[in-house]
Symmetry: C2
Subunit: 357 residues, 2 copies
């Protein structure tokens, strides 16, 4: 049975970095006889320009049928003034929500070869390896009602709704507890239970789940304190689980602790382990088309895809080993360039990974 991978290059540097990941996937497909077939579709600003919608029907139906999806990035200043419903981000959010990709895994790992890129002191971050599990299809991103209304006083009020049901909390909780079982067995649930009722329920359900995972040590932390502790002593964390909005903020903060956000992949999974994989970084419109973007986060996202959705652990490891090898060789794109490195272009980096495979 052939398995289908959908490539969604998207906007900005998306097409350049997905092109390199595609070459790597093609080679791995042959080497390991994976029987993968590939398809492509438009999403985000590219889809707006071509079809006047950030998530065309054909893209959504291809995505539903795919065994896994590899996405570049969406968004750019040329679409920033469009109304909310027509913005590139709605393509991404629509995919997450239509495919029920509620489980977002965002590792923040410091590559020893790139330790000096961090803005933190080496002793604070050396060996850093955190996994942030972010709920991705609920919370304030999708809560209703939402909008801007006219008050009786004549002025306008903007409003959004932050909401979670017990079952939404429970299913992301399970993803996090299971991830913790595979790792350091420590789970920190982040909320604002001293102020927000929705996160009081969040904390209660996490406490409840604890009994099913007696080997995992569960702690709770307020989001403001978590933002502080990530800066002060990030290695205290193993797995962090939190809602959509807090996860957006904390996962970007955690990623930046490594100094190499161009290296970090992510996975967004549904209950059937179907998944969408994408780099943690964005579409970087300022460097798009210059051939200098770092393709490694996308290539590592392809490895995550092989591991989680396609059950091809060996192929995943082969890609990860190849990436490690090019780093050992001193090859660096501009974003991770440092003294002693050899600066290479997006394509040269991709070719080097191919050669290392």
């Amino acid at each position: 049975m052939p398995r289908n991978v959908l490539l969604l290059p998207g906007d900005g540097i998306g097409p350049e970095i997905v092109a390199e990941a595609e070459k790597v996937l093609n080679k791995i497909n042959e080497q390991f006889s994976l029987g993968l077939s590939f398809d492509k579709a438009l999403v985000g600003g590219a889809a707006i320009d071509a079809e006047d919608t950030p998530l065309p029907e054909t893209t959504l139906s291809k995505a539903r049928e795919a065994d896994a999806i590899l996405l570049g990035a969406v968004g750019g200043p040329q679409w920033d003034s469009l109304p909310m419903a027509k913005r590139p981000e709605k393509g991404l959010l629509g995919l997450r929500s239509n495919l029920e990709l509620f489980g977002n895994l965002r590792p923040a790992i410091l590559y020893p070869q790139l330790a000096s890129a961090s803005s933190l002191k080496p002793e604070v971050v050396s060996g850093l390896d955190i996994l942030i599990v972010r709920e991705l299809t609920g919370g304030i991103y999708f809560g209703q009602p939402r909008g801007v209304r006219q008050l009786e006083s004549g002025e306008r009020q903007g409003y959004n709704t932050y909401q979670y049901t017990e079952s939404e909390i429970r299913r992301i909780g399970r993803v996090a507890f299971e991830a913790a079982q595979q790792r350091g067995k420590k789970l920190c649930s982040v909320d604002k239970a001293n102020v927000l009722e929705v996160t009081v329920l969040w904390r209660e359900i996490m406490e409840d789940l604890k009994r099913e995972y007696p080997d995992v040590e569960l702690s709770h932390m307020y989001v403001d304190n978590a933002a502080m502790q990530l800066v002060r002593a990030p290695k205290q964390f193993d797995v962090i689980v939190t809602g959509n909005m807090f996860g957006d903020i904390l996962s970007d903060e955690a990623a930046m602790l490594t100094g190499s956000i161009g290296m970090l992949p992510s996975a967004s999974l549904n209950a059937d382990k179907q998944g969408m994989y994408e780099p943690c970084h964005g579409s970087a419109p300022d460097i798009a088309g210059k051939g200098i973007a770092n393709p490694l986060a996308t290539i590592l996202s392809a490895a995550m895809m092989l591991r989680y959705s396609l059950n091809e652990e060996k192929a995943a490891q082969a890609i990860e080993a190849a990436v490690s090898k090019v780093l050992d060789q001193g090859l660096r794109t501009a974003d991770i360039m440092a003294e002693g490195g050899t600066q290479v272009s997006t394509r040269e980096m991709g070719e080097a990974v191919l050669a290392a495979l």
Copy 2:
């Protein structure tokens, strides 16, 4: 006309640190013939224990009549299992909201004497001086409806409402633009306008205000990117303005960049410049009663109070100079202790500031 300062020691280390600030204020009151009189009241857990409510009527009426308020901190594990409405935090939130203290100023300053305390590399944080202006009486902290409801399916759903009116945004915007005018003339407004309608309105109003402050350079940043940029290159910021929830998270992150959160004061002001002043750190129940807490953030909060609410700039500067002097002398409480320093207790630190005055 005598002016009245209300002291609210609160919980945890609150009473210890406010006691030292009180001594400093008494001395400054004499030295500069300020004509201040002082009163005290209960808030938070201390008030719950004594009067079964986190914000007794007498405390609220004293607060309304005071020219300025100095608060220690509230909260502690012994009150964590109380229902939301009876928790210590509600005392703090009730004061903010009843006195309409919508303008929260949170500086993140790196003291050169304490540069080594930061977990960031010296070149990234040396000379750091950011001001975070956080909206404090609106947003998701106070939005209605809120609670936990039973759905038809039988399961519960928690919900909160994130909302801002045009006038709420405009008044905090003005505070921030005016602060930027007094400083580096750069204002960064933080929102999540690519996802949340309420922050689309926020961005629109900030853009609108820009015309009234042509000397200030306004930029916008998404909150996830702001959390990243604070780690990557915090010195790019001068003044940051944002809503209640994002401000809670980002101000704590920014404070921790300095490594010395025990040094950072804050002010919460209303439209009449009446204000509540408090250290950025919390009640630290784990070290309460041990006499080792750092009183300097509270002493510096007293200085901010003299400056903003009592219009006594010289007295404020005298306190700040005294604090700088004890740091130069090498005196350090446990939280900021480093090689070469002389470790002192809470009270010894307070006495040293008195002596330096």
